[in-house]
Symmetry: C2
Subunit: 124 residues, 2 copies
Amino acid sequence: MRIGELSEATGTSRRLLRYYEEQGLIAPRRDRNGYREYDQANVDRVAQIRGLLAAGVPTRIIRRILPCLDNPRDIHLPDAPPEVLSALEDERDRMTRRVECLTRNRDAITDYLDTVCTRASVNG
Amino acid sequence: MRIGELSEATGTSRRLLRYYEEQGLIAPRRDRNGYREYDQANVDRVAQIRGLLAAGVPTRIIRRILPCLDNPRDIHLPDAPPEVLSALEDERDRMTRRVECLTRNRDAITDYLDTVCTRASVNG
DNA sequence: GTTGACCTTCACATCAATGTGAGCGCTCGA
DNA sequence: TCGAGCGCTCACATTGATGTGAAGGTCAAC
């Protein structure tokens, strides 16, 4: 599929799809005329990228973690140098902290909404 | 405490502390000479803000959710208009999606690291 | 009373993620 | 064969979160 179709399928502007490519997050083949050629797997990958971006993970980190996620059974970096591994560990820990922070705050919002709702139904 | 001390205590630049204030996220008292005066509660609040920012929540949303979190037992917006409540619900749902995305990817990284580690100990 | 370490505001700079548009090349259907 | 609609690159604009620095006020210590 070409960029317009992927854009439709992912709800992502063409501009951004090209940007992700520039950032090394996706690598479409090129058609003879220079057009980008995507396949179905790219739809999932773009969703992945956008989820991570929305969760505050910057592209330079996404670039690092994506290779580990395609095919969890495969080793994509069999000779990954220790500093890459420890960078991954750091990022994993950062993600854990984010999850905790988001969860805590989300639960507080939920409590708040529950309280407001309860009181509204009692008082109103 | 003044801005320098809060900066120390939170590991946040003075510039950013002023920025958060400008964004309506904290509201320090002013001393007679114009200096900002903070108290201990601001340390937690700044940590909260930074956690949310790191998790991809923009300041305009943080501004909205902070009032619900100070004192979960209190109703801070007893007359919150329905559109604020539904905005909060939306944000809660967005946070849930972020948590899911982060968790999924973090677990994949963990699996990856485990696999690399296992193989290293088998092969090496 | 001057020095130094704070504080203030204001303003311009940067970086990442995006938008927007110009100028041009394919390609397909009328 | 021409125009619409897609693609390409290049480049400048914007927004949000930050850095940095200038010009100046406050205050404590010496």
